[in-house]
């Protein structure tokens, strides 16, 4: 994993190799990542450490599709070109906000392409600029804090049950859930405290919270 790999086919390996620069604690059991599609790992690599190779790979996979969506909706080459530029820029800028809770990478990229397209079409048709795509579909990143509060609310209600279920989580997931929900740390802070990569933290959090919800759901 330490050798330098290049070329489109090895980009994923390249990004994984780089992410290994943050050490995993020896005691924590490895949690297998349940992501089979590599798009998610590419996107997380872009978000975690501005991985240029991973971004290149996403760009070559999605830019033509984005261009085609632009042509379908605007029938204008320049606007479609702008759409690729703006959508891929948004992918780059918002990649740190992506996590597996937001669904697949392709769905995430689709939604932000749809949103940029909405804004471009609105300008093209000279419609009033009262509402932007991000007001209509805020899930790209900014509704996050709100969703976390909702999760907290649900957990408070079921707090006694949660406590007993919580003990049943694998140690690695429990450690992550504890950092985020009990110590109230940000994802970045928790990853630093636990000395694990942000991507690993996010997938453990997702698995752990998913398991807790499942346990609460079957009990209630």
């Amino acid at each position: 994993m330490e050798d330098v790999v290049s070329g489109a086919g090895s980009m994923l390996m390249g990004s994984l190799a780089k992410s290994k620069s943050v050490k995993e604690p020896a005691s924590a059991p490895r949690v297998s990542n349940d992501v089979s599609d590599s798009d998610e790992q590419l996107l997380i690599a872009v978000g975690n450490h501005q991985d240029r190779a991973a971004f290149n790979a996403l760009f070559s996979r999605f830019s033509n599709k984005i261009y085609a969506m632009g042509m379908k909706l605007t029938r204008n080459e320049q606007l479609s070109h702008d759409l690729v530029q703006e959508a891929m820029l948004t992918v780059w800028q918002k990649a740190p906000l992506y996590d597996l809770d937001r669904g697949t990478a392709q769905s995430w990229i689709f939604t932000l392409t749809r949103n940029r397209c909405f804004d471009i079409l609105r300008k093209m048709k000279r419609q009033p600029a009262t509402v932007s795509a991000d007001d209509i579909w805020p899930q790209e990143g900014d509704i996050d804090s709100q969703l976390v509060h909702e999760e907290m609310g649900t957990m408070e209600v079921e707090v006694s049950k949660i406590e007993s279920f919580y003990g049943q989580l694998p140690a690695a997931q429990r450690a992550v859930v504890e950092q985020i929900y009990i110590h109230d740390r940000t994802h970045e802070e928790a990853a630093a405290v636990l000395e694990i990569p942000l991507g690993t933290l996010k997938s453990r959090l997702r698995l752990g919270v998913g398991k807790l919800r499942q346990m609460v759901g079957t009990e209630v």
Binding site: S63, W92, Q139, H187
Partner: protein
């Protein structure tokens, strides 16, 4: 915010919302409902997954010749990324109606942020119209307690989202987050015992978008406005 709504957008409306194929006005009212309704939020993420599958599957993978890949990538990666802490949820906007204030869903708060001009209509109804696009007529409606709208028919489809209070018609009693869809065929007589604040979106009638016929639009819109004002929904 989660409210158990009894009435939801149609599957076609949710699908159009996920795909981004609806007019801005319709997007806004669906967005407001979705923000309040966990069930529809779940449907939307499933529909977005499906739409993204379809997008990747059905789009030809022809390379856009006009795009200089490496130059574009170079210009993009020069930009700073957005970190989690930069994401703000924004302030909570409210609308004041007589004796109390109502917290609006995000998209509607944005719509109302430029200020609303309320007009008094017959039957205890107040209306503040907003222009979001040229395909829909959008308005906030406030029905005073005990108000009743004359029997009327819609031109086109009308969607009404209840924001505060409640109203009732022959088909049901509608509470906050309820999304009421009426087609041109429906004849109804809404009334509100306790008072009600809603946001309504009405399909516009025929609008010409090409050529000299566009000159007719102001007249058509004017007649349309008069008709809806008089009917007052």
């Amino acid at each position: 915010m989660n409210i158990d709504a009894k009435y939801h957008p149609t599957p076609e409306q949710l699908e159009g919302f996920a795909q981004g194929s609806l007019a801005p006005g319709m997007n806004v009212v669906i967005s407001a409902h979705v923000e309040l309704c966990a069930t529809c939020r779940q449907s939307i993420s499933e529909l977005e997954e499906a739409a993204s599958e379809e997008w990747l599957r059905s789009t030809p993978d022809t390379r856009a010749s006009s795009i200089n890949f490496s130059a574009m990538i170079d210009s993009i990666v020069d930009h700073p990324q957005i970190k989690g802490d930069d994401a703000t949820s924004g302030n909570v906007p409210e609308i004041h109606m007589l004796d109390h204030s109502v917290t609006l869903p995000r998209a509607l708060a944005k719509v109302a942020s430029d200020g609303l001009v309320w007009k008094q209509l017959a039957g205890g109804i107040n209306q503040a119209t907003v222009t979001l696009d040229d395909q829909t007529q959008c308005e906030f409606l406030y029905m005073k307690p005990g108000s009743q709208v004359p029997v009327h028919k819609h031109q086109g489809n009308e969607v009404t989202l209840v924001l505060d209070g409640s109203f009732e018609d022959e088909l049901g009693h509608y509470k906050p987050a309820d999304f009421v869809v009426r087609t041109a065929k429906d004849l109804h007589q809404p009334a509100s015992e306790e008072g009600c604040l809603c946001f309504a979106v009405l399909d516009s009638p025929l609008t010409f978008t090409k050529g000299l016929a566009r000159l007719l639009n102001p007249f058509i819109r004017y007649r349309f406005r008069r008709a809806t004002s008089a009917a007052a929904h």
